[in-house]
C-alpha cells in the first residue's frame, strides 16, 4: 500500500490533536490530545522507516513511547493534585496567575 496514505493519516491525527489542545477545556482531554499528537509523530517515524529502508524510525518510535509514558506519570500527578485542591480539572478555572 502507498505509504503516503499513512503520512496523510498521521498529519490528520496531528492536526486533530493540536486543535484539541487549543479548544478543549478539560486538562485530561488536553493531555490526551497531546498524546494523540505524539502518536501521529510515531506513525510518521515508522512510515519513513519503511520508505527510507532503515530501522532507525522504528527504534525512535520506541523511545518516544517510553518518554511519553514517563510524561504521563508526571502529568497525571500534577493534574490530580490540582483536581484534589479545586475539585475541577478545567484549564479555565486555573486562572489565579492572570496578573
Amino acid at each position: 500500500m502507498n505509504p503516503e496514505y499513512y503520512l496523510i493519516l498521521a498529519a490528520a491525527l496531528f492536526c486533530i490533536g493540536a486543535v484539541g489542545v487549543l479548544v478543549r477545556r478539560n486538562s485530561i482531554v488536553v493531555f490526551m490530545c497531546v498524546e494523540l499528537m505524539l502518536n501521529a509523530g510515531n506513525l510518521t517515524l515508522v512510515t519513513f522507516a519503511r520508505t527510507t529502508g532503515t530501522v532507525d524510525g522504528q527504534v525512535m518510535a520506541f523511545f518516544v513511547m517510553a518518554v511519553a509514558a514517563a510524561e504521563v506519570v508526571v502529568g497525571l500527578a500534577i493534574i490530580m493534585s490540582i483536581y484534589r485542591s479545586r475539585r475541577s480539572a478545567s484549564v479555565d478555572d486555573a486562572n489565579l496567575l492572570k496578573a
Binding site: 490533536g17 493540536a18 497531546v34 510518521t44 523511545f63 510524561e71 485542591s85 484549564v91 489565579l96 496578573a99
Partner: protein, 515 residues
C-alpha cells in the same frame, strides 16, 4: 569484520553527565536510608559535590573534540563532546551549584520554600499543619536529574538524543514548579500550565523530528546538514521539520510568540526554582539552538533565516515593551528574560561568527539573574515574598546593603558599563555586526534602551522613594543564599570590569564539531 563493528565509548567525555546522573540516584537512596533530620545536609553536600565533580570532569575534557560513541572508528552522532558543548556543560554545572544552594536556603522562611508533602490537599487543615515542617528534600535529586538532562541537551548530536534530554530536563522541572509551600494553588497552577504547554511543544518536536528523518533518512545533525544539500526528498519535509523543531526549542528558550508560559510560571514557581529555570534552562535551551542551527541546519540557512529574524525582532521588542508595564518584580524579570532571549537569538542567527559571544552572554546573564532572584526571595512581608514593586519603595533607607546589591544587579540587567550586562551585549552585538546582521543589532540596541527603563525605575524606587510604614523586612540569609548573592554579584562585576579571561575561553571553545 570484527574491527568495523567494535563499539568504543569515551567514558571521560561522558563523565560529567554520568557523575550527576549517579548522584541523582544516590540522592533517591538518601531519601530512603537517611533519617529525616539529617537529609538536608547530606543531600546538599551530595548535590554540590556531584556538580563540582562534573565541572572538574568538564575541565579535564577541555580541548577534546569528537564523538563519545565510536563504531569501528566512525563517530556516532548521539553525544558530541566539543568546545561549545563543554563550555556550556561547565556553565550549567557552576550555575546549578549556585541554584542548589538557593534551593537549600532555610533561614529566610522557616523550613524553606518547599512543601513537606506535596500529596496533601492544598489549603486543607493538614496543609496548614505541615507549613511548620521542613520542606521535602526530594527537590535535590529532581534538580540533579534536570541538570543531567541539560548537560545532555547541549552535547546531543542527534535529534533523538536531544528529545530524550529535553524531556529529562523538563519533567523534573514541571514537578519542582508545583512544590511551593506558600500559595500552593498558584504554584500547582504554574506546574499545570508549564506541563501542558511543554508537552504540547514536545509533540511538535517529535513530529518535526519525524519530518527531518523523512527528509534526510537520519536524525544525525551532521547527516541532516548533508541532506540539506543533497537530499532528493521534497523540500517541504525540511521546511515543516525545521519549523516544528524550532517551535519546541524556542518554547524552552521563551521566545515570542512561544513565551506565554514564562511570566506565569516564573511567578508561580518557588523562587529558587525560577532562578534555576531562568539561568540553567536558558543556557541549555540556547546551547541546543546553537548546536541544531550551526551543525544541523547551516546548509539550509536561507530557508529559515527570515522567519527566525522575525521571531528575534518580536522577542526583543515584545519582551522589552511588556517589561515596562509590569508591577510585579518576578513578572518584570520574566519579561526581561524574554527580551534577553531575543538578544541571544541574534547570536543564533549570526551562526559561527557569534557562537562564543552568545555563550559568554549566557554565562554572564545566568549569574546576574540567579542573584536577582535570590535577592527577591529575601525581601518578605511576613512569610510571603514581597513581589509587588510598590512594596520595594524606599528599601535603600531601611536595608541599604540589600538595596546596593539589587541596584548593581538591575544596572547589569540594564546593560550599563562596568557590569557583565554591558560586556555581554557589546561583544554579542559586535559579533553580529561582523556577521552582517546590522538590522537585528539596531533593533537590539533600541530594545535594550526600552528595557533599561523598568530597571532604572526599580533603582529610583529603591533609593528615592520614602518607605511605607509597614515596609517589608529583609530577612538575613543563611550562608546558603548569602553565597548565592555574593557569587552572583562578584561574577557580575568581574565579568564587567575584567572579562578578558572568559572571552578568551569562549573564543577557544567556539567551534562546533562538524561545522
Amino acid at each position: 569484520m570484527s574491527e568495523s563493528t567494535e563499539l568504543t565509548i569515551d567514558w571521560a567525555g561522558l563523565a560529567p553527565m554520568v557523575i550527576v546522573f549517579v548522584a541523582a540516584f544516590a540522592g533517591l537512596l538518601v531519601e530512603a536510608a537517611v533519617p529525616k533530620a539529617r537529609r538536608l545536609p547530606v543531600q546538599v553536600a551530595l548535590a554540590v559535590a556531584a556538580l563540582a565533580g562534573a565541572f572538574v570532569a568538564v575541565v579535564l575534557n577541555a580541548d577534546k573534540s569528537g564523538a563519545v560513541f565510536n563504531l569501528g572508528g566512525t563517530g556516532l552522532g548521539s553525544v558530541i563532546v566539543d568546545g561549545p558543548g563543554l563550555f556550556l556543560q561547565g556553565t550549567i554545572a557552576i550555575l546549578s551549584i549556585i541554584a542548589v544552594l538557593l534551593l537549600a536556603e532555610r533561614r529566610t522562611v522557616r523550613g524553606g520554600d518547599f512543601v513537606a508533602e506535596a500529596a496533601v490537599v492544598a489549603d486543607s487543615a493538614a496543609d496548614v499543619e505541615q507549613r511548620r515542617e521542613d520542606g521535602a528534600t526530594e527537590i535535590f535529586p529532581l534538580t540533579l536529574f534536570a541538570v543531567t538532562g541539560m548537560m545532555m541537551f547541549v552535547t546531543a548530536g542527534d535529534l533523538l538524543t536531544m528529545f530524550v534530554a529535553l524531556e529529562m530536563l523538563s519533567l523534573p522541572l514541571y514537578l519542582l514548579c508545583g512544590l511551593a509551600k506558600r500559595r500552593r494553588l498558584i504554584s500547582q497552577e504554574a506546574a499545570l500550565k508549564y506541563f501542558l504547554l511543554g508537552a504540547f511543544a514536545s509533540a511538535f518536536y517529535v513530529y518535526g523530528m519525524a519530518m527531518l528523518y523523512g527528509f534526510a533518512g537520519t536524525v544525525d545533525l551532521a547527516g541532516i546538514n548533508q541532506a540539506g544539500v543533497s537530499s532528493g526528498q521534497p523540500r517541504m519535509l525540511l521546511y515543516i521539520g525545521v519549523a516544528m523543531i524550532a517551535v519546541a526549542l524556542l518554547f524552552k528558550a521563551a521566545a515570542v510568540p512561544f513565551h506565554m508560559w514564562t511570566p506565569d510560571v516564573y511567578t508561580g514557581a518557588p523562587t529558587p526554582v525560577t532562578a534555576l529555570m531562568a539561568a540553567c534552562v536558558k543556557v541549555a535551551a540556547f546551547g541546543g539552538l546553537l548546536r541544531v542551527f550551526n551543525t544541523g541546519l547551516s546548509s539550509s540557512a536561507w530557508d529559515w533565516h527570515l522567519i527566525l529574524t522575525v521571531i528575534a525582532v518580536a522577542t526583543m521588542i515584545g519582551g522589552a515593551i511588556f517589561a515596562v508595564t509590569q508591577r510585579n518584580i518576578k513578572r518584570l524579570l520574566a519579561y526581561s528574560s524574554i527580551a534577553n532571549a531575543g538578544y541571544l537569538l541574534i547570536g543564533v542567527i549570526a551562526l559561527g561568527e557569534a557562537v562564543g559571544q552568545t555563550m559568554f552572554y549566557l554565562a554572564a546573564y545566568g549569574f546576574t539573574v540567579i542573584a536577582a532572584f535570590a535577592v527577591v526571595s529575601l525581601v518578605r512581608d511576613g512569610d510571603e515574598e514581597a513581589t509587588h514593586l510598590a512594596r520595594w519603595a524606599g528599601l535603600g533607607k531601611n536595608s541599604p546593603g540589600t538595596a546596593v546589591v539589587f541596584t548593581i544587579l538591575m544596572l547589569a540587567l540594564a546593560g550599563l558599563p562596568f557590569t557583565s550586562g554591558f560586556t555581554a551585549k557589546f561583544s554579542l552585538f559586535s559579533a553580529a555586526l561582523q556577521a552582517d546582521e546590522l538590522g537585528l543589532v539596531i533593533v537590539g540596541v533600541v530594545s535594550s534602551a526600552i528595557l533599561a527603563f523598568p530597571y532604572l525605575r526599580v533603582v529610583v524606587l529603591l533609593w528615592l522613594n520614602e518607605p511605607a510604614p509597614d515596609a517589608p523586612t529583609v530577612n538575613l540569609p543563611s550562608p546558603m543564599a548569602g553565597t548565592v548573592v555574593a557569587a552572583g554579584v562578584a561574577a557580575t562585576l568581574i565579568l564587567g570590569i575584567a572579562p578578558g579571561f572568559l572571552l578568551d575561553i569562549v573564543d577557544q571553545a567556539s567551534t562546533f564539531l562538524n561545522t
